[in-house]
Symmetry: C2
Amino acid sequence: VMAVDHLSGERATAQFDVEVMKVYLAGGQREHEIATRMAQLVASDPIFSKEDRVRLARKDLYKASIRKAGHAWKTILEKGLSEEESMKLRHFVDEPTFTDLHWGMFIPAIKGQGTEEQQHKWLSLAYKMSIIGCYAQTELGHGSNVQGLETTATFDPATDEFVMHSPTLTSTKWWPGGLGKASTHALVYARLITDNKDHGIHAFIVQIRSLEDHVPLPNVTVGDIGVKFGNGGYNTMDNGFLRFDHVRIPRENMLMRLATVTKDGKYERSDKPRQLGYGAMVFVRQGIVIDASNYLSRAVTIAVRYSAVRRQFGNKDEPGELQVIEYRTQQSKLFPLLATAYAYRAVGFWMKWLYADVMERLKNNDFSTLPEVHACTAGLKSIATSVTADGIEECRKLCGGHGYLCASGLPELYAVYVPACTYEGDNTILLLQVARFLLKTLSQIGKVKPVGTAAYLGNVKQLSTQNCKVSQGHEWSNPSILLEAFEARSARQAAAVALRLARGSGSEADFQENTPELVESARAHCQLIVVSKFIEHLQTETIPEGIKEQLMLMCNTYALSQIVENAGDFLATGYLTGKQIALAKDELKHLFDKIRPNAVALVDAFDHTDDYLGSALGRYDGDVYTHLYKGAFKESLNDTVVVDGYEEYLKPLLTQNLWGPQSKL
Amino acid sequence: VMAVDHLSGERATAQFDVEVMKVYLAGGQREHEIATRMAQLVASDPIFSKEDRVRLARKDLYKASIRKAGHAWKTILEKGLSEEESMKLRHFVDEPTFTDLHWGMFIPAIKGQGTEEQQHKWLSLAYKMSIIGCYAQTELGHGSNVQGLETTATFDPATDEFVMHSPTLTSTKWWPGGLGKASTHALVYARLITDNKDHGIHAFIVQIRSLEDHVPLPNVTVGDIGVKFGNGGYNTMDNGFLRFDHVRIPRENMLMRLATVTKDGKYERSDKPRQLGYGAMVFVRQGIVIDASNYLSRAVTIAVRYSAVRRQFGNKDEPGELQVIEYRTQQSKLFPLLATAYAYRAVGFWMKWLYADVMERLKNNDFSTLPEVHACTAGLKSIATSVTADGIEECRKLCGGHGYLCASGLPELYAVYVPACTYEGDNTILLLQVARFLLKTLSQIGKVKPVGTAAYLGNVKQLSTQNCKVSQGHEWSNPSILLEAFEARSARQAAAVALRLARGSGSEADFQENTPELVESARAHCQLIVVSKFIEHLQTETIPEGIKEQLMLMCNTYALSQIVENAGDFLATGYLTGKQIALAKDELKHLFDKIRPNAVALVDAFDHTDDYLGSALGRYDGDVYTHLYKGAFKESLNDTVVVDGYEEYLKPLLTQNLWGPQSKL
Ligand SMILES: Cc1cc2nc3c(=O)[nH]c(=O)nc-3n(C[C@H](O)[C@H](O)[C@H](O)COP(=O)(O)OP(=O)(O)OC[C@H]3O[C@@H](n4cnc5c(N)ncnc54)[C@H](O)[C@@H]3O)c2cc1C
Ligand SMILES: Cc1cc2nc3c(=O)[nH]c(=O)nc-3n(C[C@H](O)[C@H](O)[C@H](O)COP(=O)(O)OP(=O)(O)OC[C@H]3O[C@@H](n4cnc5c(N)ncnc54)[C@H](O)[C@@H]3O)c2cc1C
Ligand SMILES: [Ca+2]
């Protein structure tokens, strides 16, 4: 059989070497090789198939998911995969499951907060998966405000135990992934009480299920919290609830690296710097930004390929119909998202460096960059996840009706991704943290030199007076002009809201009154970071010549489309004129023209396999219609030609026999 | 038992009579009474329960859905409900099903395009539901471009029949609701061919399933296209595919009101004005805008009530935690959406009038307002559905983690609503139609006086020169100032893009090059319509004094929040200054302060019952946590304490026995 490739024409027009770009996007030759191998391993193993996911009832879905998790573990052991390979393998299995929390939260939290002795004890069990752990922080009544958690851990010196208790309905643990059905242990955040004194929130390891038969231990009430958004999606995960009725655990189960409770109930903070946890936080957030790029690139791959296949309406001058990717409206939504996926990849690379830098500094007890790093990573998490979630939905809509079918792969992609806007910090609350940092930085100007991503605020005066000089469209493709625009806009917005606050009493109430403006200012700051890191990355890294031009195209497209999208800010601060915005729009169209012949190749470079994409619309070969049609025959409603329910419910209707013997209406 | 009402404090602060507002929002006393009665009827009947919807596998979901549809029909007959009551009943059953298409598309299309004889024949069957009909226009390869459909209906004079045929894979009908499993008949849009001549797209009634046993007729291939976005959601509907292999139907089955084929194969257009179909179009789009208001109001009701229950973080000055509805960021997203739901309700009322006006004019062969009406209703459909879909998701995110649970009611609400952005016309394509109308109107200024919603374009000169005079915040609550701002911005944007086109060659290619700006201009025009119709409505209708102030508050909040959200447009056109935008933001906060004590009452006035909302977060009594917790016990994974799959998949893992006899990994 000859392989079809409906997109070969598109691939022929590419002006760069896709293979080189693949290696770049993967982060290096080795990473590329591992990813390719692991993707292949998953795709070739029928146990990992995602085919049926959207059609399964919850119980079957969950069962299939724990089977995959177990099978992945077996595969890892059997093949002796490295940690890096194992992570990639789980990545390509591509569904949330209890092991995410076990490896991604339970183990790192023990590493970060446990003493060496505790680490030794628990990690040796966890690494073998002799226990399954989850991360139980959120409660029914409290999520964002961790200090408000109500679960109590009261020390009983008589038995040298903590008594774990859920005093109210709202103190019920609620949301922890893997808790509902899989975990044997939970890392429980609870209010530590010794001698009637409340010492605030601390972490405790609590066994919740028997290691013999998996039955919940006495006085533990635990289960799954129910179905979540979007078909298969996140429903492979057993997010759970958990209540304690005076459950006793040994004193040693409190993680004691940062604070201890002695046998006689004395509470002592250790002298370990509390900042040590920052490394883990930067690591997690770096992962979130890379993830955002990955999810967005999947949606963009599907939408770009399908837009090149889909034809609709004619051009009066030419025969046949136009590919919808030719339409400017389609391009003006799709190409900026493509550029964004590239931009977040570059930012992800930079954050890897940032993580290494932070770890190095922590080793040397240098905490000077931490506030800046904290703000910057919080903000990047916030904008990257929000933009990605919206971007996936946008891509889905750009596929017209067919995007609404699960066969497009897009509905599940959105549903499984969108909670990233909420977990690991609600995106609004994170931006408010960024805003507090910006205000503090501005208030210290002259006294403390701002560092890193906030350094430009040192120039706030100059940035506030000098307006943009663009007078011709092509100037908008100049990186230094773009960079200055973002710096000026962000500095001005931050200065403006700082001034408002300075005019007020400077109270918390003033801050609260101005939170909408503060959030906008924080967002401006974060968009600047993305632009500046992408530009820097292209200047400083050793990027192969063959792909540099395309990367610069992506960078300029990202920056310019952000200017157009946020024109209100640039105009309101007086930095740009309406005329300059119009020029930006024109230049953007020139960039779209440059992207157009490379569009399919630019998504090919993300190197997503058909198996991983799971989309009839996004297939590499563009053979969309054949596969949509074939796919319909897997629908369970098509198991019989006459649908189950016809006799009871449709026939009485059609035969006007609603009250007859057959009718169950 | 004493009834709890956690929100009674909120209700006590309301400054208007909620009952009066309910009647207003329902559209009158009679409408309110019917709605209340039908909501109650549905809520009290267990067959209509939505409880299990998200937990059912597709087959069971579909079966439950056709059962409800049949039961609704039986109830309608049993109780002798009027047409209005029947529609409301189906509305409260609240899930898409085949009867929507039967009543909403199949029957109206026959009314619009069938001759009197044809209407008599088919409608008498359809009204009894002796046949079930669907609307089969879209194909795998063609949706938006109806003229590109490929299905053929070739006349065979030898037998006086049409031969229906699907010549290609892409000509497969794909998407029609009710086609997949329920319908006996399809209204098929196909390319009419007589004597080798292609006469373009016409409508044909084709029987597809036996009335005896529901088996598809010979040479008909039909089935369901598969699972769609979002759990229960739209999956209660059997969107279908359909292929014909030379299926013969009698000549009389072509709908012949506008064109006929004679026995000897002659094609003749009737002299009936083609515009007659416009009435139906206005009617459908009016329904879409009312629907948008309804869906958005459901999401807003849930989010407002939950935001008043949910507490997070403290205010240093006060004890306890703040309700999250107190946060300005929360208000700045939530209150504009609340105002939007009110605005679309007012626009819906106006569109009812518009429909009556169009019908009256058509009766008198007055087609003068049709282009304006067409543009205006297309545009309102586009913005109302886009804003509503995004608004539902925004409300969900404003509920934090709990919004992601199906128990919040929000995931399904989004999933079931969002395709409204695509069906009945892709929203981008509709805005481009509006843009073409605006360009044409501008080009005729001086020759043809613009009418209706385009009348302001007659003032384009003046609107282009005179800038906004606001110098103090409170002026932003003046309706005439708000109205002028929207007129000026829209007129300027339209004039600017018209000028660009005029400078070019005026070709279709020029139009295509400027579609992003054209879409923006169309959107500006539609936002103006909403603002102007809301303002007019409040001035001219007899609105009870007791609710007028709150409605004006909603109107000003809607308008002002739109200005802030689209600040870029208002600034780029030079009509507003950055200072004036800042004043608008300040004034908006004052409006939020006025809304705050009324917020819960303003959503109560939508009068959504707990049954209809189906949301633990949006309950009238605010007893959120009790019901979230109770709800979890209905999850099928909780049927057993030890989950199904433990023995096979978790135990081998935990016992390091992956290769043992139990393991099925
Ligand atoms: C899929 C998923 C998986 C999860 N997994 C886990 C897990 O494994 N372990 C675990 O412990 N938890 C988990 N969670 C819980 C998650 O961490 C919380 O949902 C998240 O932290 C948000 O908190 P919340 O739900 O309390 O939102 P809330 O804080 O209640 O937010 C509600 C609204 O209030 C606003 N708001 C709140 N405070 C403020 C403020 N100070 N200023 C302005 N606005 C404010 C928010 O912006 C939001 O709009 C998970 C959640 C989800 C959805
Ligand atoms: C839930 C649901 C129910 C449906 N029910 C029915 C039904 O009962 N009967 C029926 O016949 N059909 C039905 N449909 C089909 C529906 O009418 C079409 O999906 C819709 O008309 C959009 O057409 P499309 O899918 O071809 O999108 P496309 O036109 O292919 O759109 C793809 C992209 O191309 C862009 N595009 C296309 N043309 C242009 C242009 N000229 N300029 C700029 N951009 C362009 C669009 O904006 C979009 O971004 C249903 C669809 C859904 C999702
Ligand atoms: Ca105030």
